[in-house]
């Protein structure tokens, strides 16, 4: 019934990420920012590669890499340059491995970061992730009417001296926080699985944003629990099990919504 205490930090971290990613993921899909969410974890990998290569602490290089990437992205949007975002994705995948090229042990660790197959989480990691990620999610959820206004009528927002670009940067910062903490701790697959799948599962049934956020969070927690049980029972990797469960729920949700019309 209860898992081995050894797994508590891992489960706690995954649950915190499920809550944060459920909230942010809903807004990512509604705002059509999926490519940003796909690119940021690759950028985190550049920071992780630098920390491996030069034996630096894990978080600061990743934080700098994400901050630079988001600043570049905001500038590119302001200038109407659309090609930079896919470029960042490719740069992340390529440069992260070039930084640690010809270093076998580091390559294996980087592969772990990408695939999330051999994830080890300490209590310290769990605490480090939970605060910022849950804080970012809570802030994003409390501001839901603002995101709705900016999506539906930027002119109405500007009339009240609300600057859409400033709010866009704010959203990217919240998203970047969750992606950075999640990728650094649990790997790319887990972050993307919990960011996209629960939100996409909840959206076909959505009538209002607060309820959609709550549903995405509950589905994310269910994914983590079911993924953990399957991973333990079948001796499968945890992240991929969560992704598999999430995708099955997504299919069921979309099929049921299609049948319901």
């Amino acid at each position: 019934m209860f898992p081995d205490p050894f797994y508590y930090p891992l489960l706690f971290t995954a649950a915190a990420l499920a809550i944060a990613a459920g909230v942010l993921g809903t807004f990512v899909l509604l705002r059509r920012e999926a490519l940003v969410a796909l690119a940021v974890p690759q950028i985190v990998a550049i920071g992780a590669a630098l920390s491996l290569r030069f034996a630096w602490p894990k978080l600061p290089p990743a934080l700098v890499a994400v901050a630079v990437a988001l600043a570049l992205l905001a500038w590119a949007r302001h200038r109407g340059l659309t090609g930079l975002l896919p470029g960042l994705y490719v740069a992340g995948v390529s440069i992260s491995f070039l930084v640690i090229a010809n270093s076998g042990a580091h390559v294996a660790e980087m592969q772990n970061l990408f695939t999330g197959i051999d994830v080890a989480v300490t209590a310290q990691d769990a605490t480090a992730l939970a605060g910022p990620a849950l804080g970012a999610a809570m802030l994003a959820a409390l501001l839901w009417r603002k995101w709705l206004l900016l999506a539906q009528s930027p002119t109405m927002a500007r009339l009240s001296r609300i600057h859409p670009i400033a709010w866009e940067i704010g959203f990217l910062a919240l998203l970047g926080t969750v992606l950075l903490m999640g990728t650094n701790t649990l790997g790319v697959v887990m972050v993307l699985a919990l960011l996209f799948l629960p939100a996409a599962t909840a959206l076909p049934w959505a009538r209002r944003i607060p309820m959609t956020l709550a549903c995405a969070v509950v589905i994310g927690l269910l994914d983590v629990y079911a993924g953990f049980e399957i991973s333990n029972g079948m001796d499968w990797p945890f992240s991929q099990s969560v992704g598999g469960v999430g995708f099955c729920l997504l299919l069921v949700s979309h099929l049921a919504a299609a049948i319901r019309g």
Partner: protein
């Protein structure tokens, strides 16, 4: 204070303005005023600078030259075009009506008092029972009345309308126009951008016609007419649509 004096004071006045972006002038305005309880219709072909003029009136665009004077603390409401509303965002009728109110506080929260005002306006516009229905499932007319109820709930002195009846059926259009006429009689100043001559005739007291410049790169010039009768506005607009008539 004399009421007549109040009525004569424009909410907003443009004097010797050149409006445009970067160094490109789009519209030249010698003088233009928007008064309480009057509707200024803005009419002109695509590319004539209607949106530029609206942005300047809204205070979103500073004039390159000239001056725009506003009454202090002018409350401006804006009714978005229906086609700009993204139906993928899940929202109820009440959420949609709360958009304008949510722009008035930093976190976007809508207090109890504002919610009451929104419900009262929804009741007035006969859309109160749609408050909990998904916005995307409603007809265009219902959606537009819900958005209008929300904008009126913030109690604007000046309402900006950018093609408000675009895509509506005739009955919905007439209902919306009738509501706007009542609000105008109650003292609301309105600026209406439209392609619909009938709408101009029904609502506009003054009509601004923006002429497309003869030479490319030249700014549009503004021709202000105050129709003696309501249907004169239609004639102005229709003659521009069909120059041979």
């Amino acid at each position: 204070m004399n009421d007549d004096d109040d009525d004569d004071t424009p909410l907003l006045e443009l004097a010797d303005c050149t409006l445009g972006y970067a160094r490109r002038a789009v519209v030249c305005v010698d003088r233009l005023a928007v008064h309480p309880a009057r509707c200024l219709g803005v009419f002109g072909p695509n590319g004539s600078g209607k949106t530029t003029l609206l942005r300047a009136i809204a205070g979103l665009l500073k004039p390159m030259t000239g001056e725009i004077r506003r009454v202090p603390r002018l409350r401006v409401g804006y009714l978005p075009q229906l086609r700009t509303i993204d139906p993928t965002w899940p929202m109820s009728g009440l959420d949609a009506a709360s958009l304008a109110a949510s722009s008035r506080s930093l976190p976007g929260w809508v207090g109890r008092g504002r919610r009451r005002a929104i419900r009262r306006r929804m009741e007035q516009l006969a859309v109160r029972d749609l408050a909990h229905r998904p916005f995307r499932t409603l007809s265009g007319g219902q959606q537009q009345r819900i958005l209008l109820a929300g904008v009126l709930a913030i109690d604007p002195q000046l309402l900006l309308l950018d093609e408000p009846t675009d895509g509506l059926d005739l009955r919905s259009r007439d209902l919306l126009v009738e509501t706007l006429r009542q609000e105008k009689q109650a003292g609301l100043g309105i600026v209406l951008i439209t392609h619909d001559p009938e709408e101009l005739a029904m609502l506009a007291d003054d009509v601004v016609h923006l002429h497309v410049p003869d030479a490319p790169g030249e700014p549009s010039h503004l021709d202000l007419r105050t129709p003696a009768r309501a249907n004169a506005a239609t004639r102005i607009a229709t003659s521009e649509l069909n120059p041979r008539n």
